[in-house]
Symmetry: none
DNA sequence: CATGAATGAGCGTTCATTCAT
DNA sequence: GATGAATGAACGCTCATTCAT
């Protein structure tokens, strides 16, 4: 398993409710409803009343589980990185084979496909977060880049890839951005490609380029 | 020269000032100031009074040159595509050579480097636009994708590239997204790479992939 | 009882407060305060903040009970016609006697005397209403005219009055306008006449004219 | 000729233009355009730009002929009373005959028919006038009432009418209000009655009432 | 005399947040 | 724990008026 520390407790969202399992349930409703609204109208055009209503409780109750509207956005981001951790970091190894990278790409792209609304919302609205929360999100983002850097570097070290140190960093970013592209360009890609197509073509072009030998 | 119709006059922003050249001047001030503010605080956190002040005139004067706050955002987007048209579309040919594509990539990436704040603002806030204005922006975006598709297809037709029809579309999006990446990931890339580095590495990886033969 | 359908529910002003009885209470405060202000300064010179303050709550609370400033004006008009309905339409019969008409005039003029500020505001500002709301008010106005037309026609039918069909309509309008006159010309009439004087003289002149036989 | 002093010079609207005949011309355009706009949208919903445009000159020029927007309203009122003076006061005598009154009613009602938009605007918007200007308008209004009072009183003195002193005042107001009714109730009366019908019926009912002997 | 660009006080309305019940 | 009525700071936008040209 590779890197990725657990959620910093200092970044956790305060709640005045004591029952932990109730918090869990309510926040799941909250995130689910908020993502839908933010995707549709954006963070600023969505009111807290709408968030509460969509989640199925009153405005008063909403504020029992968050302190500010921004907390809702943070919960969404945090939730994403929890999933990233669970499905990507855990059980990813770096022995220096192309197959490892392909698997990681597969997992990452599949995750984005499953949570594409969440990802779109996060990338589109994260600049709204407070400095502190934004830092947390950027750190998580860098950890994802670092994961792919590690996988690529292992391949370089094992001689499987022959790219320079500089290119490793860029290639890692490249993969991350290609993942985002699937979420952000749905309007242009959907209908023409399945996620499976997309993974295959992008992986192929990543390794071999558009004029790479296909023999 | 390739495609890309001129700005639709029906999409132009109304002004109550009659002097055309004065409008030109004022709007340049306006765009310049607004980009700075939107980049820093986002569209919704920026007030119209701040926009006016940054542009160097009063709130009343601001509204002599736009009708709504959204118009400011549209002016920014429109301005970008005017530049795109001037620097990218004009004088780009599609004879089917790799050099043509490299030149177009160079021009596109350089343009983004010059106007990276504008591009970031546009991509981050364009969902705020009205349906009509958004459509206009998406159309312009698709024209850019189509430009690279045309260049790539010409290479496929001439036998220079051997990728399938499906991959052509994806590869075109790919180039566009790589350009955006330079604007959006400055925080991670700047300091490590110059725009020249970036263009070279990305072009290289685009054509030959990370394991492509570099002999 | 004569004509006059109940308030169209579709014309009701929306409120975001759920407690019906609270709405009732707050709107009464609202109408009372707003009439005072509108009478004094007119609709356009009165600000929503002043309305809220006069009613005894904050600007935020005001907008929990109305959607637009125009709603305040509509509430005033609606309130008037509710009273008109309660005090004039209910229990008015049309058997064809002069006494019936005199009673109706008495009730109508007394009502105007009780709510003269409301009536003045309504007639002075109703052109400010939206097309839809104005239509509603005009319909109510026509129902009042129709009430007196019915009473007069009954007298014509019974032979008590000998005026032509055309004159019936005009006479009905005449009564309505004489009522308004009491509200609008207070500055000239008050002090010289009581409402009782006014009713008596106007009724008399209406039936017998200024040269009518008084023997 | 009966009462009605000429325009108080202290109430005249100041203009920075010196050429008197030019002022005359411009103000006529002004009044004509403004009445149209005020009738349609009301004083407050009409902007000074619209007034200038409708009158056929620029906003800057408008302010060469008035000092404030309110002046426009005052000019309209003043213009009305100039006409009233010209067509009603001049050459009206008070010998104590019914024919004199009928002639005055005829002149007054005809005047209102000719200038009904002006009258509607004046009565609907005059409360917007400054205290001083309002006083002037009310004084003019009272002079009109006084005119009819004088005519009526002459008839009482000559024994033609047998109404009390109190009723004289009311009857005078009555005539004035009936005139206004023709302007204000056009929406209900027009199409059913011509101004000739209206004058005849109202004069008749005024003198003889609805049950008066018509033998 | 005529123009119209510039000004900024002031308006109607929204909405995150609180707190008494 | 849950509710929703109350709050008021803050926003986008308008428009009467001025004044340099």
């Amino acid at each position: 398993m590779i890197g990725g520390a657990r959620v910093d407790s200092k970044c956790e969202v305060k709640s005045s409710v004591k029952d932990r399992s109730l918090i869990e349930v309510r926040r799941e409703q909250l995130i689910c409803g908020a993502v839908k609204l933010f995707k549709e109208k954006g963070f600023h055009r969505t009111t807290t009343r709408e968030i509460a209503q969509q989640a199925g409780f009153s405005i008063g109750t909403l504020y029992e589980y968050i302190r500010t509207k921004e907390d809702v956005l943070f919960l969404i981001c945090d939730n994403i990185y929890n999933e990233v951790h669970r499905r990507l970091f855990t059980a990813t190894t770096a022995q220096g084979t192309v197959e490892e990278i392909e698997l990681a790409i597969y997992r990452y792209f599949t995750l984005i496909d499953d949570m594409s609304d969440e990802f779109v919302v996060m990338y589109q609205e994260s600049k709204t977060l407070s400095k502190e929360a934004l830092q947390y999100v950027l750190k998580k983002e860098m950890e994802m880049v670092a994961l792919f850097e590690k996988l690529l570097q292992a391949c370089v070290d094992s001689g499987t890839l022959r790219i320079g140190r500089k290119e490793v960093g860029l290639a890692a970013h490249h993969i991350i951005v290609q993942g985002q592209m699937w979420a952000f360009r749905r309007w242009a890609l959907y209908g023409q490609y399945t996620i499976a197509d997309y993974i295959q073509v992008q992986t192929d072009q990543f390794f071999r380029g558009v004029i790479g030998d296909r023999s």
